[in-house]
């Protein structure tokens, strides 16, 4: 046995992960640390031309990049393009118009490549020395001219190109990677993966997987589609839109390993705040013009969204007139307020879904005060009334609603948690960091698959509950068979009284969710310390935020912001605890 001879074999031992090989008398490798013998033989120093498969497989050992994995030469931005392509396809199957993919998203992507100077410009900044003009050669020269109107509503000629299979590698002038990547541990399946991961340039926003979602959302917003950000993220979590391990959709020939892992592998679901932040960043980076107006007939308008969420939360439809009042008084229904304008001074946009739900919270506070007392005494009144007037339209009973919602949401949350716990993060294509890990990773994958097969045999014939059709609604209260009563038709009669010609809420008190707003540089508006608030408020925030899959604190902040607008005077007057009397006209 000769240790010297075995130095050329540098894969990890599948038993103990050590890299320390010796040669047996038969010329096979054995691990000097655990004595595991591989089925690989030593590479025969081929003097003659021997076409032996065994030798071939060994000579793939560790020499040059191209020998590890025979695949296409592809660039990182092509990877992202592929992901975007599949995301757009997924959105299309969810019912979004085809223009989103062919025009809007395509243009945004081109604009991104141009702004980040990766393509679509005369002198791509990263061609220095090695980088090819990605896609550049393939595009009509007219594109350069139309750069400035990229986002105009006119259909671009090249729109169709995006539709065509984007993964076919373009004939790049191949310049080999820098000598650094020759080292065994720094490698990537893509041509420029190593450089890309080390690429730091001021003013350039690097593409990431979360940012592909941000791009998707921007195009949805541009098209004023009926998908909110929380819907989008929920679809991602339900695996309807590729995001986690989106790289597995790459064609077989696009090998992903090494540094590509840091770029394409994602082991978390997208986070609302994170994507929201990314979206604004991307919009600013792309220097996008003002988005199409969000008017009253748009899905994203608070009046429409409030109606949607009232239905979703099993609340009386009558509350809609109150939410409209609040929207009007606070001015959050104004076109200028709602429309996203990245160029404007105040670079922000509205969290349409969170805001609409926050309006509902405010209305509930106006009606019931939510101080753990008044809502229950009103409930008793409503219950008594409903007992006496069985024939009439029932009055809204907060207690009953609470019981129904608590039960339903607890069950839903339980199911959600179980489904998350069963989520499978790993794909059939393991990504290894360096070549010596490769065989171990594949062996481990094989092992896991085998074990999974064994355990699924024990699970038996009950397959995972089949997926429901995608819907922006998560609950359906009007179906008679759910067993949960529907409150949509209940009246608010007991909670309002007439005063002259107008109707005002019986409850004349109100408490503010916060009086302190952070004025410093921290990004959050205020903090939410659960225990400071009434149990009803906590309950409502917890189920409402679960509906949107956001943190309760975000909803609380939004509620505070709306209150700030609603009681602006009071805020300005004093910092005392205010008791504004709200008179609302009907």
């Amino acid at each position: 046995m000769d240790l010297e001879e075995a130095k050329s074999f540098t894969e990890r031992c599948s038993q103990c992960a050590a890299v320390s090989w010796g040669l047996t008398d038969e010329g096979k490798y054995y691990c000097t640390s655990c004595h595991n013998v591989t089925d690989r033989s030593e590479e025969v120093v081929s003097t003659a031309v021997i076409t032996n498969t065994k030798i071939n497989s060994i000579s793939r050992g560790l020499r040059k990049r191209s020998k590890h994995e025979k695949g296409w030469d592809w660039y990182v931005c092509e990877g992202f393009q592929c992901i975007l392509y599949h995301q757009a396809e997924a959105l299309k199957t969810l019912g979004v118009g085809a223009e989103l993919k062919n025009e809007v998203l395509h243009n945004l992507w081109k604009r991104y490549l141009q702004k980040s100077k990766q393509a679509y410009c005369k002198n791509p900044v990263r061609t220095r020395g090695r980088k090819a003009k990605v896609l550049g050669d393939n595009l009509q020269s007219s594109d350069c001219a139309s750069e400035l109107e990229l986002l105009s509503d006119t259909t671009l000629e090249s729109g169709a190109e995006f539709q065509s299979d984007p993964q076919i590698p373009k004939p790049f002038p191949l310049v080999k990677a820098s000598p650094k990547s020759e080292a065994a541990d720094v490698c990537s399946g893509s041509v420029d993966g190593v450089e890309y991961s080390e690429w730091k340039e001021k003013g350039v926003l690097k593409m990431t997987v979360p940012r592909t979602l941000a791009l998707c959302y921007l195009s949805l917003l541009w098209q004023r589609e009926t998908i909110t950000l929380s819907d989008l993220l929920r679809f991602v979590e339900e695996d309807r839109i590729p995001y986690v391990n989106a790289f597995q959709l790459f064609p077989e020939e696009m090998k992903v390993y090494g540094r590509d892992k840091g770029i394409f592998a994602v082991e978390s679901w997208p986070d609302y705040e994170d994507i929201y932040k990314n979206m604004i960043e991307v919009a600013i980076f792309l220097d996008l013009p003002r988005f199409p107006d969000v008017t009253e007939d748009c899905y994203l308008h608070p009046n429409i969204l409030c109606m949607k969420y009232l239905l979703e939360l099993n609340l009386p439809e009558e509350m809609h007139s109150l939410t409209c009042q609040v929207v009007k008084m606070t001015g959050i229904g104004e076109v200028d307020f709602l429309t996203f304008d990245p160029i404007a001074k105040k670079k922000r946009t509205v969290k349409y879904d969170v805001q609409a739900v926050a309006v509902i919270v405010v209305v509930l506070k106006l009606l019931f005060l939510l101080d753990d007392k008044l809502e229950w005494s009103y409930s008793s009144l409503a219950e008594a009334y409903n007992e006496e007037h069985r024939e009439d339209e029932p009055q809204f009973d907060f207690r009953k609603w609470y019981q129904v919602m608590k039960k339903t949401f607890d069950e839903k949350r339980q199911k959600w948690e179980e489904a998350r716990a069963k989520y499978s993060w790993k794909t059939k294509r393991p990504i290894y960091r360096s070549h010596i890990d490769k065989s171990v990773m594949y062996k481990r994958r094989e092992m896991v698959e085998h074990l999974q097969k064994q355990f699924s045999a024990l699970v038996g014939s009950t397959p995972v509950a089949e997926k429901k059709d995608p819907s922006s609604f998560q609950f359906n209260w009007t179906e008679g068979d759910t067993g949960s009563p529907c409150f949509h038709g209940h009246s608010l009669q007991g909670l309002l009284r007439t005063k002259g010609q107008s109707l005002i809420t019986k409850n004349s008190l109100y408490w503010l969710s916060t009086q302190k707003f952070c004025k410093s540089y921290c990004k959050h508006v205020t903090t939410y310390e659960e225990s400071n608030f009434s149990l009803s408020y906590q309950f409502i925030l917890s189920i409402f935020s679960f509906l949107l899959r956001i943190k309760t604190s975000i909803l609380h902040e939004e509620v505070s912001l709306i209150e700030k607008k609603l009681f602006e005077k009071k805020y300005n007057e004093s910092k005392k605890r205010s008791r504004p009397k709200k008179v609302r006209r009907h």
Binding site: C34, E267, R445, M447, F455, S456
Partner: protein
Amino acid sequence: MSDFDEELTKLALAEDGKRETSVFSNPGMHFPWLQERIETVVTGGKKKRDFAQTTSACLSFIQEALLKHQWQQAAEYMHSYLQTLEDSDTYKRQNAPEVIWKLGSEILFYHPKSNVETFNNFADRMKNIGVLNYLKISLQHALYLIHHGKLEDANRNLSDAETWRYGEKSSSQEVLINLVQAYKGLLQYHTWSKKKTELSEIDKDDYAYTSETGNSGNQSCRTSTSICALLKTPGVWDPFVKSYVEMLEFCEDRDGAREILTNYAYDEKFPSNPNAHIYLYEFLKREKAPRAKLISVLKILHEIVPSHPLMLEFHTLLRKSDTEEHQKLGLSVLFEFLDFAGCTKNITAWKYLAKVNVSHLVWVEEEWMSRRSWWPTFHFSFFWAKSDWKADADLACEKAFVVGILLGKGCRYFRYIVKQDHETLKKKIKRMKKCVKKYSIVNPGVCT
């Protein structure tokens, strides 16, 4: 980067052994919430990957399902939990096989659809993920097979584990190798003892007998090498010691057996183990060792387990002894024996106490002093008088006599028994009354 990784891996591997022992050595305290805190601290407040979060949720779902014996659900979650084997966190990935083995073997042990074949399959797979678990899993696999009566398979398994090539990873696992060998020895003992019982049914003049005895001699030699190594490591090895000694004795290797037992009982590195002294005592008794030696062995046992049935034997040994010191010790052994709730109905103990030499009443009083406050309610309440009499009149009589001596004839227990009109015991009770009158250590009328 990768060099650094590797170094870390090595460190983690090296520490693995240490960590295990330290974790298991103090099982008393653990704070699950602290663990969570620590995890967030380690990541520096960075958001935990959802992968880590969902897999840990999955783990708690499995644990819950196991607790509730929902094997089906547990298997379902296990299916997802297997992906921790591919965790990109090196530390977690290295711990995953052990966790998966423990959970998986538990599920497969109980799951209605599981059988020996699935278990074998699972064990064989798990053995080969990483080197550190090979021996442990092999051993547990063998135990599973033994449990299912597949002794031959188990033996083969242990042989495989024994001859497994482990290279430099061996030193930390020496105990495990010894255990594997010892279990193999135990299996050999099993076949040997089965043969022995078969032989005892055969005629001694038979040809088969002589050849078989020769064989069994061979066998015990092999076993000795298997078990011997383990017995040198400190620990509690009762079944191994017992069977090993039995085989040695059968081969007439008394010195060897004595050495093993003495070492097992007296080596200070071994944890205190009453059985070690019991085995030694039984061995010495079989050997007809001198009384002093027997007493010295039982003295230690008495310190560890004063309620052991052998204490009665100890008492008789001490009573037969000539020295006064031994006699006195014998009395306190008896009292201490009866201090235990499990021994209250032991008629022999009461009998011995009743037979205490009249001349030792001073010692009795001495022992009684510390028990005067609680023995009357513990042993001699009216309730006990009634139930003792009902269950075992003889016992009641013995107790009554003792209580008469200790508390005088006015005591309720005594009065109740004496009042009973029993034909066969009439004489005894009469004599008892007389004795009590004469020897009671209290003045009449003082007690309850």
